[in-house]
Symmetry: C2
Subunit: 332 residues, 2 copies
């Protein structure tokens, strides 16, 4: 019996917003395993904002997702067949198999995972790329000091939630920005932020002034657009901005920065970064994050879409902020 693999391909590039028609769900028979290969049943697929950039053909920091190929993405799963001595059936592994149910690998890009104290799906979030992203921007760019005020946008998201909790542990006053009362309540009551601003209330400038009366010393940016405009006006002298994402402009609409002169007036330092270019920090960051999760000192939330076929819709929701916490797709 040949097993069937379900896969989702990118079949056209979005013009503006992503549409369901950009994707195609296909069935592909699994080829027999070759010597040295490992077959993984993916349990969870990670959906992340960076994927939107890869869907474009235009210049970005990475080569575009090719058309008519399986959409890229990080996955975690279980080895179901192995002709590779380093992997046994039953091993839990992280891979980068993309939007599909099964992955086949020569074993080189896999990483074994221990899910005794850390749920498998967390390796796609707080103990994975989003967590390390938070760790890097905070510890290598912002470098917050106790007593400083730190702000983070998309605060209830996979990255933002970690940024704020790590900063709280360092003795900062932490302000979140999120979309909607539910997310803001979660950010303050569950994650322990000092305040959270609902950007949908359209009162960013005054809300920020109230939440950060002494100004903002460090800002972790995930969204760009009007939020960044408002934040720049509130930054203290010598503030640091870690530029991690600008999801507000991912569909290609113009997103000018209103008052770039504030970067000079307040002598700010701003740095754009991509965590995959800083692999040297991953071991340290993952060890710290994994420890915190295992000790339940780092909280997180997941939005779980059920089944591969739900991935396009979930991804479109993520780009519109409809997710609540780390967006994943449960494949088994």
């Amino acid at each position: 019996m040949t097993e069937i693999n379900h896969q989702i391909l990118l079949v056209s590039r979005p013009e503006g917003e992503v549409e369901a028609a950009n994707f195609k769900l296909v069935e592909t028979p699994l080829a027999p395993l070759q010597d040295g290969e490992v077959r993984v049943r993916n349990h969870f697929l990670s959906l992340d904002p960076y994927m939107r950039g890869r869907m474009n053909e235009s210049k970005s920091y990475a080569s575009p997702q090719p058309l008519n190929e399986v959409m890229i993405g990080a996955t975690v799963g279980r080895v179901v067949e192995s002709k590779n001595t380093r992997y046994q059936v039953g091993d839990k592994v992280a891979g980068f198999f993309g939007w599909q149910e099964f992955g086949t690998s020569d074993g080189s890009a896999l990483r074994k995972l221990d899910d005794t104290h850390i749920p498998l799906s967390a390796y796609l979030g707080v103990v994975g790329m989003p967590g390390v992203t938070a760790w890097y921007g905070l510890n290598r760019i912002i470098v917050p000091k106790a007593g400083e005020t730190l702000a983070v946008s998309a605060a209830s998201g996979a990255v933002g939630g970690v940024v704020g909790q790590l900063a709280k542990a360092k003795g900062c006053r932490v302000i979140g920005i999120a979309g909607g009362a539910d997310k803001c309540r979660y950010v303050v009551e569950e994650l322990g932020f000092d305040a959270c601003i609902d950007y949908k209330q359209d009162n960013l400038h005054d809300d920020l002034k109230a939440a950060a009366p002494k100004g903002v010393d460090g800002y972790f940016e995930n969204v760009g657009g009007p939020v960044l405009d408002a934040m720049l006006a509130r930054m203290n002298a010598f503030g640091r901005i870690a530029l991690c994402g600008m999801i507000a402009g991912y569909n290609g609409q113009p997103m000018p920065l209103k008052s770039p002169q504030l970067l000079l007036v307040s002598r700010l330092k701003l740095e754009g970064f991509i965590v995959s270019e800083h692999m040297e920090v991953w071991p340290e960051a993952l060890a710290e994050l994994g420890g915190l999760v295992a000790q339940k000192r780092l909280k997180y939330r997941e939005s779980v879409a059920e089944g591969l076929a739900s991935a396009p819709e979930a991804f479109m929701g993520l780009l519109k902020g409809r997710n609540f916490g780390k967006q994943i797709v449960k494949l088994v």
Copy 2:
């Protein structure tokens, strides 16, 4: 006989462009010197873009220039009377006496100058604040490596000319941006830049592509506006931008940055700075710059306005780029 001091006061704040009516030339009798005081006849007054910011009431990095007081500014001159044992008549000194012919001081904010090998006026330019500004932005923010491409705007100006020459000495390919064919010719032929783009030709994007075929690794920004937009699009991954001035917006007109997402896409590092906040580098920088000037290995050019009364006109010209090199006013 009581000597008369001529002074220029700021009597109103500009709305938009600076006008002659914002200033007033007055005659003030010099008070007799008190014990411990020094009287300096100012020989040269420095005019610098930062003064425009001080003329506004709005938030900037420094307190505004008070109305009906002598306009601030750096000066160099000669001690003409002294009741302070640390200064003798004939000593050459740098001070911050502002737009006036004589300065009186308790000696605390003066610095003795040696004009044997370095012309007195150079202490207002290449061997003064503008020179150290160039040195700091280049060596502490951009940190260029041999073989990299560096660009600098206002390239024929007091700061830009030093930036480019120091970068050339470090083995960089250096691109200037300046206004007009004369300035560009000077930048290439006299200062030794590899290329210079005339932004008045309105072809920044293509000209920059031609001048920097491998992209730009370091950018020293003095102007902002469309030049910064064009430069961002040409920056290489991991490029560094020293944000020193944004003269294009000093009259308060909106000056949005078109595509801030390029800061993320190209993982740029941008830092705004004010050299007076980094006094720790001044001794090292001034020693290096003074040595280069004395050895005639660092070239510069001055625009000299004659007499105190010419200062307002010269300052308005500076803000419009009518100066060619460091703008000073000769007072004696």
